[in-house]
Each structure stands twice: as C-alpha cells, then as structure tokens.
C-alpha cells in the first residue's frame, strides 16, 4: 500500500448545487432519491438530468428508508484510516423499497448476523472531519 498522506482520507464530500439538498436531508434524518418528471422513473445517485430521457425536470423524492440487504461482505482487512480502527465492519449493497440500490454499511448488529434478504432501515451516522461533519446513510436491522 503506498503511503498516502493521512489527511487525504479526512475530507468529506463537498456538496455542490446538485448534491446539497441530499446532504441537507441526511442531516435532518431523511433519505432522498431523484425522480424524473419527464419519464416518471426514479434514479440514483442524484443528478440534475435524468440519465434515461435527459429531462432536466427532476425532483427530489423522500425514500421510505426501508429496504433489504442485496449482498454484503465483512471487511477484515483495510489499512486505510479511519477504517483500520473499525475492523471488522460490514459493507453492503442495500436495495431500497423504491428499487434503487446503494452501497452502505450495516450497523447495530454483530457482523456475523447479517444475511442477504435481511430487512433493514436507514439510520444516519455522523462522519466528523476537521472541516465539519456530514450524516451518512447507513442501515440497521429493521
């Protein structure tokens, strides 16, 4: 592993016009996905244009926050901070009731208890860095 400057790992996503509403919502405990008013489809990650029909008429839609574990792994080796201190931890793909899938962490249970198909609910984990903090959507057993 190359020696990365440790500070490189300690930055948070910088919200821009496109993603600011997403991060503002997670800070108030809501998970947003995008909906295209042109063709009626939901999409994710958030973009200003629909990836299907290119309509720029898109709106934010609050997700129910419930879903199921599609697949997951228990990470037992990772030298990058801050994850080295968190080992072992679960990285999972969660399928929301709305159909979109996202990569996230599963918390609130022993890593060994996570199963594919397990019902989960969104929670928000504060990630603090030098320049501030954000709330990251993570999932817990429902």
């Amino acid at each position: 592993m190359p020696q990365l400057p440790r500070t490189a790992t300690w930055h948070l996503p910088v919200a821009d016009l496109e993603t600011a509403p997403y991060w503002e919502a997670t800070a108030s405990g809501r998970l947003l996905i995008k909906h295209c008013d042109g063709c009626g489809r939901d999409f994710f990650y958030p973009r200003s244009h629909c990836p299907r029909c290119w309509s720029s008429s898109t709106s934010w839609k609050e997700a129910s926050g419930s879903g199921v574990v599609y697949t997951f792994t228990i990470v037992r080796q990772n030298d990058l901070p801050p994850f080295k201190e968190r080992l072992p931890y679960v990285v999972a793909i969660v399928e929301l009731d709305e159909g979109v899938r996202l990569t996230s962490n599963i918390e609130g249970c022993a890593p060994e208890d996570v199963r594919c198909g397990m019902k989960v609910r969104v929670a928000f984990r504060e990630e603090a860095r030098d320049e501030g903090s954000i709330f990251l959507p993570v999932f817990r057993p429902a």
């Binding site: 592993m1 996905i33 792994t73 990772n78 030298d79 793909i93 709305e98 198909g117």
Partner: protein, 396 residues
C-alpha cells in the same frame, strides 16, 4: 471488406515484483513482440500504449514514454486509459487505424510497476469522485466488490468455498510451466481454506495480487502479413469495448449506487453479458465456437461469473463446470490456460494485452506445457472500472 487484422507478434516481460521502471518492462515486451513478428521498430507506423496511473507523468503518456525508449522514429502515437480495459482500448485504436487504411503496422504495448498490497485509491482529494468516496466514506476496498459478487453466488447458486478453491487449484496448475507467470506453484485446498479472511467470504488466496509486468502485440493488415509470406496468421476478429445500458442495476466498481429496476425493466443482458455478446456478434461466432478463454479472475469466484457471462453455461451452472473439470486443460473448454490472474497478479495496463498474447500463442500451437489441443478460436474478457468493456476474439 474483412474486419480482421493480423497478430504478427506477441511478447511479454515476465510478471513479478521487480521494482523497476515500467518503461523497462514495456520496452522488453515490445522488442519481444517485434522479434516474434520479424518486424523492425523503424517499420512501425503507429504505437498505442495502455496508460498506467501509478507511475507519474511518464505513465500518463505511456505510449510516447515507451516510443521514446525504443528510439524516436516518427511513428504516430496514442495512449489509452480504460482502467483494467486499457489494453483492449489500445488494441481497438490500433485495429481501427489499420482497418481505416491509415497504417499497416501498429504496436500495442502496456506495462506497469505496482505498489505493495491491494490497489489503494490513487492520491489526491477528489470529494466528488465515487471511486474516492467509496474508499474513504464507506471503507469499500477492491476486495469488497469481489466479495459482493461471491456472496451473490452463494445466495443464488449455493457456491461454496470449495468451488472457489477448485478454481485456484486449476489455475495454479495451468500456470506451472508458463515462463511469464509470477506464481508457479501448486496450491492445495487446505492452504486456500486456511488463508487469512480478507473480505468475507473471500480469503487471501481467492484474491489476485498486483504485479509488475509488460505485454505487447504487433498488429498488421492482412495484406501486410501476406507480403511477409504469412498467409494464415492469427487474427483479431472482434474487439468489444461496450459501455453499460440504462437502467444499470448491478453495482460495478466504483459505483456506489444503481438505477432503479422497479420503474424500468433492466436490460436483457447484464453489463458483463453484453461485453461478450458484442464480441460474438462482431466476429459472427458464438460460445459454441470457442476452444479456450482467458477471463479476468480478479477473484476465484468472479471466474465462475465469467463462465456464465461468456455463455459457457447457463446462469447458476458454473459450479458444475469447475467441479466436472470442463474448464481444466484437457476438458471441454479450458479457461485460463495461462494460469490467469491467480498465477500472474494484475498489471493493469498490460493485463488485457497479456490475455491476447496467451490466446495468440495457443492458436499458434506454441503454448508449451499448457497447450489447448486444436485451438482455433479463443476469447479474452475483462471489465474496466467506470463502464469499460474489454473482450477480444482471436481466430486462426
């Protein structure tokens, strides 16, 4: 008009952890390919390099770095980046120039020098780059993704650690006599199952390492080959560099999210399926025509996914193929006779070219100690980050 170009020469620098400059490996491989073809460097009209992102500026302009080291000759140059698919992109550019009649002789080369351990994100702070975010917000390392797919196989098809061990054992045997392979040693099921858990359910010996290495092919027009007295060269009959289609519902590196399959039916073929399908269509061939395949076994479990993606069997039947020995040398359709990434480790910009070198030697009957009998058609396949397909079909 034929869409084929000839592979007149193939050459490699052995894979390993040599710690030298990537240009040195590239030059070694290029000279080997030129010697193999009996073509002089001064006669090369176009050189295409696969970019390496871990070797500074010289790596960003790999094509010209290697051209300069071979000696400036006035050849035209390009460098391609498509992550693990970089080599296939470079081949595609060279092939297109030949088929367009813009040149007759093109050299394609890729080489890499790698750091120790699993590939970490390249340096810098890029807070809107999903590849950066997945590493630093979610702790989703590369093995995490291979583990996602492995877990799905367990869930859907009852894949087991023993099946994955069988892949590793097979590839280790295949690579035993390959002079370019880094690991040439048999491995037992006990050793594999006792190796350290990295990202459950994958253990260390299920995941390929990173390596230094270089690979090159010399491509020419069929007419040029004929003039050299070679009437039946190995030919590139298809190069597939397709992108995914909407809605993309499979998470591939480095995606951290997918479109919804709920509102729009996903495409008939997954992205990985579509890479092979486009290659078959271009070559007017099908999986039943293959005599061998070189697939990208970043993990042992992923090799099983590829069996299905390239149509060797139906979905969920790959475990049966490995258990029955179908994909072992001497079996129905040998996969990774070179030993695959299990024996090589990944040298990103060189790997897709190395796959083409192996299939070329197999079709020429020159793969000593690992030769597939009566090999006439071979396929290579791989997938580059950020939506890059990579598949080459070679025919005799």
């Amino acid at each position: 008009m034929s869409k084929d170009v000839a592979v007149l020469g193939a050459g490699m620098h052995p894979w390993g952890k040599w710690g030298r400059n990537f240009v040195e490996y590239g030059v070694h491989a290029a000279r080997a390919a030129l010697a193999d073809a009996g073509v002089d460097w001064q006669d090369v009209q176009f050189i295409a390099g696969g970019e390496t992102v871990r070797n500074g500026y010289a790596g960003y302009v790999a094509g010209s770095s290697i051209a300069q080291a071979l000696g400036w000759s006035g050849a035209r140059v390009a460098t391609a980046y498509a992550a693990c698919a970089s080599g296939a992109s470079a081949i595609d550019i060279a092939r297109a120039r030949i088929l367009a009649g813009l040149c007759d002789v093109a050299l394609v080369v890729g080489a890499d020098t790698t750091p120790k351990g699993f590939l970490a994100p390249s340096g810098g702070t890029r807070t809107q780059d999903p590849d950066w975010l997945r590493f630093f917000l979610l702790g989703a390392t590369n093995p995490t993704y291979f583990a996602f797919y492995a877990r799905r196989r367990m869930e859907l098809y009852g894949s087991t650690e023993k099946d994955w061990a069988a892949v590793k054992i097979k590839n280790a045997r295949h690579g035993l006599s390959n002079p370019n392979a880094r690991y040439r040693k048999e491995v037992t099921e006990e050793e594999i199952l006792a190796s350290a858990m990295v990202s459950e359910p994958l253990r260390l010996l299920n995941i390929c390492t990173t390596s230094d290495g270089g690979a090159a092919v010399l491509l020419t027009s069929l007419e040029y080959a004929r003039k050299k007295g070679i009437s039946d060269p190995v030919k590139v009959s298809a190069v597939s560099t397709v992108t995914p289609r909407f809605p993309k519902t499979v998470i591939d590196l480095p995606d951290i999210a997918t479109d919804s399959a709920a509102a729009a039916a996903p495409p008939e073929l997954t992205f990985r399926d579509s890479i092979a399908a486009a290659a078959y269509e271009e070559a007017d061939l099908g999986p039943e025509d293959l005599d061998l395949a070189e697939v990208y076994d970043l993990s042992t479990a992923l090799e099983l996914d590829w069996y299905e993606n390239i149509g060797l069997c139906k979905e969920g039947e790959a475990e049966r193929l490995i258990r029955d020995g179908d994909t072992t040398l001497g079996g129905r359709i040998p996969v990774n006779p070179s030993g695959g990434l299990a024996c090589f480790g990944e040298a990103v910009p060189a790997q897709a070219i190395a796959q083409v070198c192996e299939v070329t030697w197999q079709l020429q009957g020159r793969a000593q100690g690992r030769q597939v009998e009566d090999a006439n058609v071979g396929l290579t396949i791989n997938q580059g980050l950020f939506g890059h397909g990579s598949s080459v079909i070679l025919t005799k």
